[in-house]
Amino acid sequence: MNREVVSQLAYLAASILFIFGLRGLTKPDKARRGMMLAAIGMLIAIIGTLVKAEIISYGWILVGLVLGSLIGYPLGVWVPMTAMPQRIAFSHMFGALAATLVGVSEYYTDLTAGHGIGVAKMSALAFEVLFGALTVTGSFVAFGKLAEFLPGRPVTYRGQNAVNLVLAAIAVVLFVVVVLNPEASVAFYAMLVLATVIGLFLVLPIGGADMPVVISLMNSYAGLAASATGFAIGNDVLIIAGALDGASGFILSIVMSKAMNRSFSNILFGAFGSAPSVAARSAEGLTVASITAEDAALQLAYAHSVIVIPGYGLAVAQAQHQIRELADLIEKNGGEVRYAIHPVAGRMPGHMNVLLAEANVPYDRLYEMEEINSRFEETDLALVIGANDVVNPAARNDPGSPIYGMPILNADRARRVIVLKRGMSPGFAGIENELFYAENTSMLFGDAKASLQKLIAEVKAS
């Protein structure tokens, strides 16, 4: 059989296996098998490429494959689950880098070979390099903010949006110039450099708490850049895989921004938290009821139904195992424990689910917000740990609040609420939380892990 036919068949098989692989992720018990199929698809695609007649030397390819595997192995096996967001941001950088470099190589080769580049191919190449380069630096900044070697707070200055708009306009002009005249290599490389700058300027002003949206957007961009590569070199498996990635990232960024009650433009150009405009209700004159670990444990021990609401504070305190231990004790006493997971409970989409699964919390106890919100009324006790804005009733009933309209977990509707919290500091949105002052709420102050350990000891004793 002709080599080209072999590669094309391999790519077709890989495309189908990728789609089956992603479909596996719609069911937790089918997911691993699905991903195995996707991995086989990848292997087939690699082999199908290596047999191509164009490939004449394998030495450097082998170097790249071995080096990549050596880098990939620790990224897959050693990275802790808490570091997942920065790890994913880091790989978006790699994915976009590969797409960008292939684009530059393709452009340079065509140009030096002297055969012209058609408008369609040039558009694809320019798009690939523009989005690819922007994603490399944008993801790097996201990685830096999540790994905390760059400041997590929004980096802003006056006239920022105007500067960004001008840069974007210049990039568009360069794009048009190079598409109309592919020989204008200065425009091509200038666009490449400008795209890296735009990537930096786009993500630097975005605060650490908004990173879930940024990661998802970068996921989408990396996919689009890969798709553009497919257009440029006429490779359908690249177009398909890139489109799947692009769709996935796009959907996740919509899910995340909805959960934060924010529009894309607000996240990208808003620098959240800088100016709460309308006066939200203040907490003056309200009192907080604190509770001892002994009393809280007594309530937990006798509760028939408990909903745990974990927030990022739980992950920061590394208290996932303690909450599972406490849940086991409550269940042993005949109570029922469910977990209510807000979409932005972690630092990336679905992060909290992974952290709890790692602590051996069974996944059929983890409930999405829409599934569980109607159950709070009939629940004895809501246990809020390290979560704040996502349980703030002001989102429902205070039009003056900056988070008004944000979908929240209705913890306040449970019969009793116990909040584990370090102190009375407001959440990242910087607003007071009425839930903490509600009549049915008691506050258990202290470090989440230490408080949970006390609760475990007390429940055991009771």
Binding site: L22, M42, V63, G72, I88, A120, N219, A243, G249
Partner: protein
């Protein structure tokens, strides 16, 4: 590049949209890790750039691209499987509660 590429793109994006809207929030992190691994498919472009001896620049950029894409493939599939292996049920699937 041909017009049929555009059809492929639009149809693939549509299939992607249909499937991914059905992925539960529970698995959104593994989903992102999985798409990351799949994005390593840029290997099919970078392998050609690295191995077809077109010119030095192309080979150098190609090798870097192969390295980056392969890191995503290996790391991406490993970490996705590592995450998915942690998701376990309390009760068997066919016996509710």
């Amino acid at each position: 590049m041909s017009f049929s590429d555009l059809y492929v793109f639009v149809l693939a994006a549509f299939v992607g949209y249909q499937i991914i809207t059905r992925v539960p929030a529970l698995l959104h992190t593994p989903l992102m890790a999985a798409t990351n691994a799949i994005s390593g498919i840029s290997l099919v472009g970078s392998l050609v750039a690295a191995g077809s001896d077109r010119n030095t620049l192309s080979t150098v950029l190609g090798v870097i691209a192969v390295t980056a894409a392969m890191a995503n493939v290996v790391g991406g599939f490993l970490i996705t499987d590592r995450m998915l292996s942690m998701f376990k049920r309390a009760t068997p699937v066919n016996k509710p509660n």
